[in-house]
């Protein structure tokens, strides 16, 4: 029958807390200036946003999705999808952060370990 704690738990939780502390330390050591965000759909890079600009952007190849860019952050402002998880998730602003939409296979992320690349033209909508 079930027992809440057993001797092996000590090692399990000690290991887990160690891994958590280490992975957060690694995560917070990524402190490059954020200048761009990459939009991939079905594994293809569709667009590269310049996060130093400000405004609302719609991509022709991705109808129904509007992006809002400003002050080093980006969010999905509007999407026609059913569950709206990508919209409710809010903005991303740090290297490695991402917004994903599983049904539409959309991946929007701020690249890490990479100097800013020249963004392609911005289509403001």
């Amino acid at each position: 029958m079930s027992v809440l704690f057993k001797p092996g738990d000590f090692f399990f939780f000690a290991l887990l807390i160690g891994v958590t502390a280490f992975s957060f330390q690694w995560l917070f050591s990524q402190d490059e200036p954020v200048t761009s965000a990459v939009l991939e759909v079905e594994g293809e890079v569709l667009y590269r946003f310049d996060l130093r600009r400000q405004g609302e952007i719609a991509i022709d190849a991705l109808p129904g999705v509007d992006f809002s860019v400003g002050q080093g952050s980006i969010r999905i402002k509007h999407n026609t999808c059913q569950r709206q998880i990508c919209v409710k998730g809010g903005a991303i602003a740090s290297p490695g952060e991402s917004i994903i939409c599983v049904p539409q296979k959309i991946l929007l992320y701020i690249p890490a370990n990479e100097r800013s690349k020249a963004p392609v033209k911005i289509i403001t909508g």
Partner: protein, 178 residues
């Protein structure tokens, strides 16, 4: 205590089937209830349906827990939509790795239910992330979610493990084991 336990007219096999069926229904109800709860980010979920899996694992066996998990995911996808969709395979991979690890830890006998439940949540998150990184999105950037997933698995797995523990105690008091 024993006198108070309910006597069943069913054979052990029939009892087993009835318990599995009941746990599938409970898992489904939890899954549907949870679908209505707000989710701030797509990967953050309490995992209420895992209560049914944990109970099946401790109350019956790992085969029953696997059956409960697979049926819940398949039937759940009929309700919520998305049978055989990318999200369905995310759930299935998470569910199967989770039950595999939980069964091994349970069998070892050296871990309590809280650790087993947290490990299940971790395995679930890890499998989903691995499938998302390698198959769905093919982009390593998603591994950056991992530290947050470890932290949430620790909390949600702990809560689910505790709830399951309370329910299992209750079941042990009320029913004869198979």
């Amino acid at each position: 205590m024993n006198e108070a336990k309910r006597q069943s007219k069913l054979s052990p096999d029939e009892q087993r089937e009835a318990r599995i069926a009941g746990l599938i229904v409970i898992g489904l109800l939890m899954f549907i209830f949870e679908a209505y709860l707000p989710r701030p980010v797509p990967w953050l979920k309490l995992g209420l349906a895992n209560i049914a899996t944990l109970i099946a694992l401790y109350w019956i066996d790992w085969r029953a827990a696997t059956t409960v998990t697979v049926f819940r995911i398949v039937i759940g996808s009929f309700f919520a939509g998305g049978f055989l969709s990318p999200g369905f395979f995310l759930s299935l991979s998470g569910g199967l790795l989770s039950i595999g690890l939980m069964a091994l830890m349970h069998k070892s006998g050296i871990f309590g239910i809280l650790a087993v439940s947290v490990a299940g949540a971790l395995a679930h998150n890890f499998a989903q992330l691995a499938v998302a990184v390698t198959i769905l999105f093919d982009n390593d950037v998603l591994w950056y979610l991992w530290p947050y997933m470890v932290l949430t698995a620790l909390t949600t797995g702990g809560v689910i493990g505790w709830i399951s523990h309370v329910l299992l105690r209750r079941l042990a008091a009320d029913f004869e084991s198979l």
